[in-house]
Symmetry: C3
Subunit: 346 residues, 3 copies
């Protein structure tokens, strides 16, 4: 895409300062500016970059007052940060979408593919699969038998979706995601573990995004469920029969053990662990690397938790501060003991 | 599959109470019952679901006494829990197995594929690969040169098995598993790290199941070995030259560093870390997120361990309880000090 | 390959003791020796294996004095350990490299593939991709549009490289790696999270090796960058806009959150977590499972860190030792209190 600064100003309701005819072809952070790029300045901490940026144009707030001469063309808008988000979205929507069903894909005759879908070469679509209109299936994706996928989904390369799983609409699965592998269920016997068949499925509701190489296991019976609006980062593990509440967000490498139920609007930091058969209340925020076990503070929701086992974050901070003083405390108590002995002697 | 409650009762040696002709087509948990499903009641905590379930039939123990009227057909058996496990296994064995060697697979002329194998379209089988009878290779699996795979294995989509690795029989590898990538070995030099060639292999014995996106690295020399009956959950990391003892179980996201040797019948909780060159005694149980380093308690086996570095779990609990009291202890010691000073003054 | 012990001795400037004509076909650790293998003895702890090894030949240091008769042929060299590394490298370089562009690969007409490349069957190469000479692309790899890859790279099976990413030369990506999936960026609204488009890329410089199923996310704008000589182990997560300094090494399952900048020559142990927007000084070493947050000790570099939040490792050891004494300390303070009360009474 190529636009002039003037065209962009018109698009976003901005006013120009400087060369209105300068050509814009991409975005860049203000500190990484290149000719042809548009940047933005919102946080005054970054203002000094404005005077040296190589970007051709910079979005600034209307009330911004420059302290030095600026080489780039300025576009003044009500809110520079929000405007750049809008421009990014416009830019992405203008990228050419892939379309067409490749003859080099393997598609079962009993599969139903909606209109305006993209099925790449080397994708595999099993028996009785149903795919809604506008969904994109990238190369080397494997969709096993009886899976249903809704409309306008994006399934990136090398994803595997096991048989019978049900996906809603506007879902994004990044590369390497595995949906519906067997839950980890084995019964011990004298000679080894016997597999408990996992005959349930995974259900993913609308507007979910799942990061690269994340795994969501099928349930033993019934369904593992990822509710609408959930966002999972990369390398996350969701075990069998887990229920993740709407609009909950998990950072990378979080692990949730079997049958746990997580409330809506929760936020789990990176590498958090959730033990099995747990209920986490809604709007619970959990600090990175914490471990959740079954405590009242976890169940009630609305808390900010930290540590292993996780406690209310203020308590965690207090304990951590106290721990720092512990080596000195040991010395102090030894000294008190000595003094007390001395007094007794007298 | 469709059976009547009567047919199922005959199959499992049960007695019917209620409509014997009701049609059963699937399984469901008692709290998620649907018409056409069979459920079970074993734990009395769930009894209240029995009176409201929508399932068409429910397996109960022979001595169960209902406190309210039940709409579903009851099938009384000696042990409802064990019966459902048996039924699940029967159900799975009746699922139609995929068979046939696809012409859309890429199979080297020097590869040997046993009878009754399934090789899906888009699978890749390299030179001199040997695959035993009854093994299933799903779409987009890559089996590199000189690999041997035993009988009745299931290799799910997008698995990669590097060259020369040796797999036994009745092994399940879930989607995205990587067997035999190079061990992480580099020698530091002034200019950067030099790679230490990893010329060993991975050996996987019989009856092993490995979860989605788990990685088992090849050894520097010799072999990394996963012994018979081992079960690894998703996203586990097994480094080069590791030896995992028979019937050991690891939950998701466990990491085992290079050359460590883990005894048989161990259980490692989710996200546990095991440092390198470590020996873990047999029947060691390790709590989630713990970190194992080289201590006596780790080497001797038979312990339940917890924490980082992991200690005997009772000691961990004692330390955790003490930590909670630490902020108060600090205050208390300050007060004692004050009182002692006061007494000295006198 | 088959060599005699004599030929190997000539190759590495060694002298023979024993049967010079013995045939060598592989390597083995001295404790796992097999006929036809060559082993080495460097660490005297392993000397007892020398007298019972089944290997046909063993490399030893020139000054080594055997305490018992040795059946294997000895090859004496200046440094047995370095010699084996050299032999391993020679051995690997003699392995037949795969070559040729398969007709069963899907290659866009606008892609440019250099000389002496290997493109396997079932690989997918998108529009405008550029691949330098000598690079190997294994089966089921997906390289999306506009990616550039340098010379002599090895891209193992089932890797995904998203559009527009830039890779240097002599890079190894192990199976299942995902380069350039969207950064995890969402803006909260009343109804759910809105995606922030991720229009940046990933840049990987020369001589980088990345382990199986590791993920490196594309940046929001600009580029996520993995600098030259970096080595990442398996299942590592590198978030959007991260900058990993030259020759830094990360063990398996490390997670680095968004926009953090890691200095050169750092070493991060397994399962370490790095929080977002952090600067880690050069030559920082971090113990396994530690969590880095924004503290002076993290920023200044050159430290050995440990714990969560990570502190200087000597401080960590001191705190851990103190924690062990805490249960006793609690008792001791209670006793002091009692004694003090007693004295007051008097």
């Amino acid at each position: 895409m190529t636009f002039t600064a003037e065209q962009i100003a018109a698009l976003v309701g901005g006013t120009i300062e400087g060369d209105a005819s300068v050509q814009i072809t991409t975005f860049a952070k203000i500190e990484e500016g290149t000719p042809g790029a548009i940047s933005f300045l919102s946080n005054s901490k970054y203002e000094h970059y404005l005077y040296e940026t190589k970007s051709s144009a910079v979005l600034v707030n209307r009330d911004f007052v420059a302290q030095q001469p600026v080489e780039a063309t300025l576009i003044r808008v009500d809110n520079a940060y929000e405007t750049v988000a809008k421009l990014l979205t416009m830019y992405q929507s203008m990228q050419q979408k892939k379309t067409g069903i490749s003859e080099k894909a393997i598609i079962s005759e009993s599969a139903e593919i909606g209109e305006d879908c993209y099925v790449a070469p080397l994708a595999y679509i099993g028996d009785n699969v149903k795919i809604g209109r506008g969904t994109a299936i990238y190369p080397n994706v494997v969709v096993e038998d009886n899976v249903t996928i809704g409309e306008d989904c994006t399934i990136y390369p090398n994803v595997t979706i096991y048989h019978d799983c049900k996906l809603g609409s506007r879902i994004t699965l990044h590369a390497g995601v595995v949906i519906g592998a067997d839950g980890f269920g084995f019964a011990p016997t004298a000679n080894g573990y016997e597999k408990i068949p996992q005959i349930g499925i995974v259900t993913i509701e609308d507007d979910v995004e799942i990061g690269a190489n994340t795994c969501v296991d099928r349930s033993t019976m019934g369904t593992t469920i990822i509710r609408h609006g959930v966002k999972l980062d990369n390398l996350v593990q969701i075990a069998h029969n887990v229920d993740v509440g709407a609009n909950t967000v998990m950072s990378a490498q979080v692990g949730v053990a079997g049958t746990s139920k997580i409330g809506e609007w929760c936020m789990l930091g990176g590498q958090v662990g959730v033990s099995g058969h747990l209920t986490i209340g809604p709007r619970t925020h959990v600090g990175a690397q914490s471990g959740l076990t079954n405590t009242l503070v976890v169940r009630q929701g609305g808390n900010v938790l930290m540590g292993y086992p996780a406690v209310e974050h203020k308590l965690f901070a207090k304990q951590a501060a106290a721990l720092k003083q512990l080596p000195d405390l040991l010395k102090e108590v030894a000294e008190l003991k000595r003094q007390l002995e001395e007094m007794k002697m007298k």
